[in-house]
Structure formats: C-alpha cells, structure tokens
Symmetry: C2
Subunit: 250 residues, 2 copies
Amino acid sequence: MKEINRYKSVIAYHGSGFSGYQVQPNKRTVQLEIERVLTTINKSDTKIVSSGRTDAGVHAHGQVIHFDSELLLNGQEWCCALNAMLPEDIVAKSVERVKLDFHARYDVTQKEYRYVVQQVIVRDPFSRHLVAQVRQTLDIEKMQEAAHQLVGKHDFSSFCAANTSVVDKVRTVIAIDIRELAGARIEFRVIGTGFLYNMVRIIVGTLLEIGTGKRTVDEMGVILEAKDRTIAGKTAPAQGLYLWEVRYIE
Amino acid sequence: MKEINRYKSVIAYHGSGFSGYQVQPNKRTVQLEIERVLTTINKSDTKIVSSGRTDAGVHAHGQVIHFDSELLLNGQEWCCALNAMLPEDIVAKSVERVKLDFHARYDVTQKEYRYVVQQVIVRDPFSRHLVAQVRQTLDIEKMQEAAHQLVGKHDFSSFCAANTSVVDKVRTVIAIDIRELAGARIEFRVIGTGFLYNMVRIIVGTLLEIGTGKRTVDEMGVILEAKDRTIAGKTAPAQGLYLWEVRYIE
C-alpha cells in the first residue's frame, strides 16, 4: 500500500457561478468542482475539507482546503495539474504538503473577510458581481466609530442569521477596519477567530445603515446588547463579500 | 399627430452576456434589450441606431445610440425609466435631446477604444471577463515604440479580419497610448476616426507579441506595409476590449 500525503491548498473563486461552496444535489458548487478534478488526478474518489463553507455568490480570495493523495508532487506541479482542469472561476493559488494531522477547519485560528461597497450614481455593469453598489455617500468615520463597538468577545446573536442551529453565539472580533479604495469603493476588513452564519454580511449591512445616516452610531451598542437578529440591519448582498484569508497555528 | 423628438444616449454594457451588439435571430444582444425597453416606454415599436456594432464579449464604457420618441422627458427622467427596466449588464449613463438630423453612426468624428491586459502568475478568476490575462511580463516601451508606427493615415489591411466586405481599408489612427494601471494591468488606448473589423484587437494582439519578445519592434512597419492579415499577430480576446468613447461634431 502506498503512503498517503496530506496537502493544504489556498484557492480563490468567483462566487457568482456557484450555489455556494458546499456540495448539494444537482447544484454547481465549488467543492463539487474541486473534488471532481482531484478524483481524476488521484484516480480514486477524493474528498476535500475546507476552512468553512461560503454562501452562493460569496467570493474567496484565500479559502483553504486540505485533501489526501498517494501522489507525491510539489506545489507547482499540483497547481499546474489543478489549474489545467479546474473551471475558469476557481484557481489553486498554492499547494503545500502538510502533516497528516493538519485539518483545514479545526486548526483555523483566524479568518479575515473583506466586503467591498461601491458608491455609484448610476449602477456599474462591470462590477455588479464583484461589489455591492450603493447610491448614497457613506460616512466612513461614523461607520468606523460604530464598528469599534463590535471589537472584542461578545454574544453576536443580533448578527447571526435566524435560521441557524448554533447554540453558542459568543465570538471574538479582532478588528474591523474601513478604508477607501480607488473608484469610489469602500472596503470593510473584518478579522475574527470565528464567525456565525451571515455575521459579516449583517455587520456590514448594519454599518451601511449607519453610514447613510439611517441609524445613529450609538445604535450599534444597543443592537449588540439586544441579542436579537430583528434589531440589526439588513444582510448585505453576497456579491460584496470575500473570504480573504484563513490563518492557522504556525 | 404628436411631435417627434430625437434623443442621444450614452450607454455602457458588460459584453460577456451578449452575442454582440447587433440584433440576431434567437440571440441575446444589446440592441434587442434596449429596443425592447424603449418599445415598452414609447408604447410603439422603437428602433435604435448605434455608433457601430461591437462583437460578442466586447464591452462598452461609452457606446452612443440615438432613438426617436413622442415623449418629451429630460435626461434624468429618461435614465431613470431606462435603468429601471434594462437588465443589470446594460446601463444608460446619459440621455439628451438632440436635433432631428443627429445620427449616431454617420456623425461620428472619433472613437476611442481601450484594451486592458493583466499580467498574472496564476489566472485571476475575478477579472476573467473584464481583461485579457497574460502570463508573460510585457515590455511597455517596445510596444509603445511599435505602436507609434501605426499612427497616421494608412492602409490597415493587415489589421482587418479577413472575412469583411469593406473595400477601402485606409483609416486614420490618431493616437495609441500604452500605460500601466494598478494591479499589474496595462491599458492600450487607441483613438481613430474609424476602425476596420477587429482592427483594435489585431493591433493589440500584434503589440502583445512584440511586448513578450516574440516579434521585434521593427516588424510592425513590415506588417503594416504587407497589407496582409496573415502577417500580423493573433486577434486579442474580446473580453479585454472596451468601446470607451465616441465623439461627434460639436
């Protein structure tokens, strides 16, 4: 019997063409496409494990997966093989051999999400799958001030989709930074040790309502305290969200 | 009988979802989508005239059309009405009432095309419909030097798709500028009084072969002189091309 090798891979994907990351019957998903290619390369049924799922339309700049293979290839060989066979909306950015006990989900220490909003006068047909477009001008200072109230260890029940089975809703947000990019774009960077379902999109949706003046800065603390999803803002649309980076124990 | 008004409109579209600009049976085209919306607004069959067609996958940042209507609306009213009904990959950027003898195709004095190339190590799934991606590093100075040889009034037979019925292939190129953008992107700006079929894409395709060192700078003059399409470089892919601006007599 041949030796088994475990590989960690950083992948990027454009989420618009997928019904999310996770395999679902009769749907095109990221996991399905990657497992199909790896099964061909390995010549045996191969499953992958990711750092976590992403929703339909959500992008990944740096999703991390692991998989096992009897093949002993270096990173460049794996990337060439994978990228030659993967569809155009998924790319393997790196592959490295790791210890057999590495686990792409259990070993995560931090995740960074980014959310990009473009302030437009008329809608921009070129960025519609890559950013969320808003007609209003956003007050970055107010949003940053409100965002600070979320940093730390809190019960984020107000920022968790109602249809979830998770019981413990305490999470730690390490940082939320908001900065202007070129082209009237604003980028929200949210770093945490873990996130609840739709948490980043509900945080951003609430910050956008503060940024447009629909809500005050002080409401953020009230929303956090309420531990009630119905009090927070709308869930921001999927197409602005990027799973940017997943960090592991060194 | 009501008075007829003529309107000039600047439109933008993301070309990937269309089988080009011009109406074709059983195909989704830009012209078809706009005429369908205008016919609804005008409550009578409405045709549009553009500055010229664009191919499948080619984008427009500033295509110009004209249409007639009995309605007397201001620019903002037209834009609101159009953008509420147009699909997400087309947007009306401006509409203005013009003289009845204005013609979006016959009155063109200059057109500007832009072509965007992104130098990548691994392919970028986020920009694949918006730029052409190349693996090699491009020598901008060499491409600029070669491009200068095309400026002026020339027979551009070498830079015209073979399957065209146009007889006179003399055109005037006013400027070709090549500059670096952020994100390892290079933008080619080509301004002329008129263009042959695929002319910009063949010019860029040839410049790319010079930029990667596959051809020398001096070959450009030889190619122009040859008046033979088979001598020039490959037609650069559609997704990097933008009809950027159309200019008219003031």
